[in-house]
């Protein structure tokens, strides 16, 4: 344990340049995916819903860069629009999880007592439900569609974030600086916002990227069983599901959306790693 102040260069841990690499690679992949999704709003090479039976099951060529599917739809166009749908579902679902889960976790950790018990037991209840079953229930009640998929995935993100927040917050509440804030007369909410939340950020960011990737996978799973986005709206999961029967005939139809999912998840995880380091002033390069 050194008693000297950590100066800018010497204080950085060995291998401190690592986040540069993972941040850059992860950021680049994510950026490309987001850009592709955004471009699909205004332009795709073909209409992703346009069926052209004579052109079906083409391998990648000059006209159809990623080939065509069983109905002759352009694979690249579907992938681009699918990126938008898959990411939107995952993003909103994570947003629902953070937006409701984090405040609930903070509340439970800050107030303790019966409120804590109620919040956490309800969380347990949601956790105890099989995710897919609830998704099927919701879609059975409200009908299949992207919005209901978001709802189903989002609900399962709430207890994840609530538990994580509460657990980490509980240990932060015992810190001396929280005690100092209480001596300064600050209330539960103010301390939660000023002292607890900022110190949870790194944990939350990492969890958010994990949940985002899980969200993409969950959307794929729901679409696979036919409960996600409905035809003709494309999504990565549905593309995978459709290619299932053709896997021997046209393996690229499964590989392309699969690769897109893997790449996006990888990019997000790398970026989360980098972000965690970037958000921590202890690991940040000193500005002096």
């Amino acid at each position: 344990m050194s008693d000297r102040p950590l100066d800018s260069a010497a204080g950085r841990p060995a291998g401190g340049r690592r986040w540069h690499a993972s941040m850059a690679v992860g950021g680049l992949i994510t950026l490309v995916m987001v850009a592709v999704a955004l471009v699909s709003l205004v332009w795709t090479p073909y209409d992703p819903a346009a069926i052209s039976i004579p052109e079906r099951l083409q391998v990648p060529n000059a006209l159809h860069w990623l080939g065509t599917d069983y109905f002759g739809r352009d694979e690249l166009s579907m992938l681009m629009e699918g990126a938008r749908n898959s990411m939107a579902v995952a993003l909103v679902a994570v947003g629902v999880g953070i937006g409701l889960g984090v405040p609930l976790g903070l509340l439970a950790a800050g107030r303790r007592g019966w409120l804590d018990e109620v919040v956490m037991r309800v969380n347990d209840l949601v956790f105890a439900f099989p995710a897919l079953l609830l998704a099927i229930m919701i879609t059975a009640l409200l009908g299949p569609g992207a919005v209901n998929a978001i709802l189903a995935i989002g609900i399962f993100n709430i207890p994840v974030f609530a538990r994580l927040t509460r657990g980490s917050a509980l240990s932060l509440w015992t810190r001396d600086y929280v005690l100092a804030a209480r001596v300064a007369g600050k209330g539960h909410w103010l301390i939660s916002i000023e002292h607890i939340l900022p110190n949870l950020m790194s944990t939350l960011v990492v969890q958010a990227t994990i949940q985002f990737s899980l969200g993409i996978l969950a959307e794929a799973a729901l679409a696979y069983v036919g409960l996600g986005a409905q035809p003709p709206i494309p999504s990565w999961g549905k593309m995978l599901a459709d290619s299932q029967t053709l896997i021997g005939l046209a393996p690229q139809l499964a590989i392309i959306p699969g690769l897109a999912i893997v790449l996006t998840v990888l990019g997000l995880n790398l970026m989360g790693d980098g972000l965690r380091d970037l958000l921590d002033p202890r690991l940040r390069r000193s500005r002096s």
């Binding site: 060995a14 001396d176 600086y177 100092a180 300064a184 600050k186 900022p198 202890r282 000193s286 002096s288």
Partner: protein, 543 residues
């Protein structure tokens, strides 16, 4: 032959030199004290002997145990030496034991790991070892779990594990730092007895000169990875040849200069505590049985006048922290009342804003006292929250920040830095700045210098004394360290099991303690001058 002989030991971790040319001998039956401040490399020296250094370490030089070279030995060979030939005792008795294993299993496990003996035989050895560390089998059966023991008893189990196989060398890294003074004295006695009985060599690593002065045959002093002095204990203390040794010695018995406070007994006291009681509800034994209560603070009354420094001493669990939290309105009290300059701190929900504005606290751990995400400027202005809309803003706020930082000997430009850019001592100064910024009447110092190295501690004590004189501040100085309390306080309260058992002027109380508990505390506390007097060193020095 020399039991342990280290020569020319160099250690570097990923290219950074940590130890430079260390030379140290330990004979059988000898206690060698290894002293240094944090970062001096004393623990790293011990880990080098055990070959337990962090990954990326490069070790050169020679370490021999009974003539057998240890440097360059393979990890697997070292495993055979650790535990059998070298035993080790750690600082933290709370974490050194596995909470899920009984004490018998833990001691027997170390035996079976190193010796091919049956279950019965291992337990017989474990039983012997526990007897030897004064945990008699009829009162401490092998089936006890660590949580059923006190800190001192756990440390005894740790010692039993280290000595079960009768190693020739025992390494103790701050074995008593986490313990209360009376327990510390008992553990040190035990170590001394075991060394004599087994003719072991003991390498005792500590930051506390007073501990080694009374115990070690020889001492070695380390600083920044180098050994600055090494010799027979009496000799080292008698001559204090090296300037660093002298500096350490002076810092250990440092006495900050203070003016005697002018106390006006008729004025409203800064802190007035009357008959305060704090009960904790225990968990129910049976569903319908009455709730049991544990009385942490029992009918405590005292006052602190303006400019007065009052010490509160007692061993862990005596209620001193609970009392301080009650004063700061962090805990509700069940009866009695607390007034700060006449403002009630309320028995019900928290304190009035007026009362809170008059008190602040400084904690023990300089590393945990600050939110690492905020800049110093935001950290130390946190108490401004108490002023609500009256809080200074703009240039006025900057002036207050600069004033507070200046008061604790830091620069105004430090306000823009993050807390990790400061050392432990500097952080404690920032903690004091945070307490000062709102101009309180009372600062509660909860073990505020206990985690600091002696030289830094001396500086912080000087700072506190100076602030108290200049700003007419009152302190409630909570500590288990009697030497520190004696050096800075005007009056002392001795607390035991929730009650204040003795109260008096500091010097008078230390010279002539009345209550048996106070006498016991003072007798048990390691005391540098007393230890040296016993060795007849002070006499020589003063002559």
């Amino acid at each position: 032959m020399t039991l342990l002989s280290i020569s020319g030991l160099n250690l570097s971790i990923s290219g950074t030199p940590i130890l430079k040319d260390i030379a140290l001998d330990v004979e059988a039956g000898e206690i060698v004290g290894l002293i240094g401040e944090s970062g001096s490399g004393k623990s790293m020296t011990a880990l080098s002997i055990m070959h337990l250094m962090p990954t990326g370490s490069v070790k050169t030089g020679s370490i021999t145990l009974d003539g057998v070279e240890l440097v360059g030995k393979h990890d697997r060979q070292m495993c055979l030496i650790r535990g059998i030939d070298i035993g080790m005792i750690f600082q933290e008795p709370m974490t050194a034991l596995n909470p899920l294993m009984t004490i018998g299993d833990q001691v027997a496990e170390t035996v079976r790991m190193h010796k091919k003996v049956g279950h019965e035989e291992a337990f017989r050895i474990a039983r012997d070892a526990l007897e030897r560390v004064e945990l008699p089998i009829d009162r401490f059966p092998l089936s006890l779990y660590p949580h059923e023991l006190s800190g001192g008893q756990r440390q005894r189990v740790g010692i039993a594990m280290a000595i079960a196989l009768r190693p020739r060398l025992l390494i103790a890294d701050e074995p008593t730092t986490a313990l209360d003074v009376t327990t510390q004295a008992q553990i040190l006695d035990l170590l001394r007895r075991l060394v004599e009985e087994d003719q072991m060599g003991l390498l005792l690593i500590t930051h506390d000169l007073a501990v080694v002065a009374g115990l070690a045959h020889r001492i070695a002093i380390m600083r920044r990875g180098e050994m600055v002095e090494h010799g027979e204990t009496g000799d080292v203390f008698r001559h204090l040849r090296h300037p660093y040794t002298r500096a350490l010695f002076e810092a250990s018995r440092h006495q900050p200069v203070r003016l005697a406070p002018e106390i006006e007994p008729d004025a409203v006291p800064v802190l007035d505590v009357r008959g305060v009681v704090r009960d904790y509800a225990k968990s129910r034994k049976s569903l319908f049985g009455p709730r049991q209560y544990f009385r942490a603070v029992n009918e405590v009354s005292f006052v602190i006048h303006k400019g007065e420094n009052v010490g509160l001493v007692g061993e862990s669990g005596c209620g001193k922290s609970t009392l301080s939290r009650a004063i700061l309105a962090l805990e509700a009290i069940q009866s009695g009342h607390i007034h700060i300059e006449g403002e009630p701190v309320g028995t019900g929900k928290g304190a009035s804003l007026a009362a809170r504005r008059k008190m602040q606290i400084v904690f023990q751990d300089p590393y945990g006292s600050f939110n690492p995400r905020h800049r110093v400027e935001r950290l130390i202005t946190e108490p401004f929250h108490l002023l609500g809309s009256d809080a200074p803003a703009g240039r006025d706020r900057d002036r207050r920040i600069a004033e507070a930082l200046d008061n604790v000997g830091l620069l105004a430009s430090d306000a823009n830095k993050y807390i990790h850019e400061f050392s432990g001592g500097q952080r404690q100064r920032i903690a004091i700045a945070r307490a000062l910024i709102i101009h309180p009447a009372l600062i509660v110092l909860d073990e505020a210098v206990s985690a600091l190295d002696v030289s830094i501690r001396a500086q912080i004590l000087d700072l506190l004394a100076d602030l108290s004189d200049r700003l007419q501040l009152s302190y409630l100085f909570i500590s288990h360290d009697l030497t520190v309390v004696r050096s800075i306080t005007d009056r002392v309260l001795v607390m035991k099991a929730g009650k204040i058992v003795e109260e008096g002027e500091t010097e008078a109380l230390f010279q002539n303690p009345q209550h048996p508990y106070t006498q016991q505390l003072i007798a048990a506390a390691p005391h540098l001058e007393r230890a040296l007097a016993a060795r007849d060193i002070m006499g020589d020095r003063n002559a």
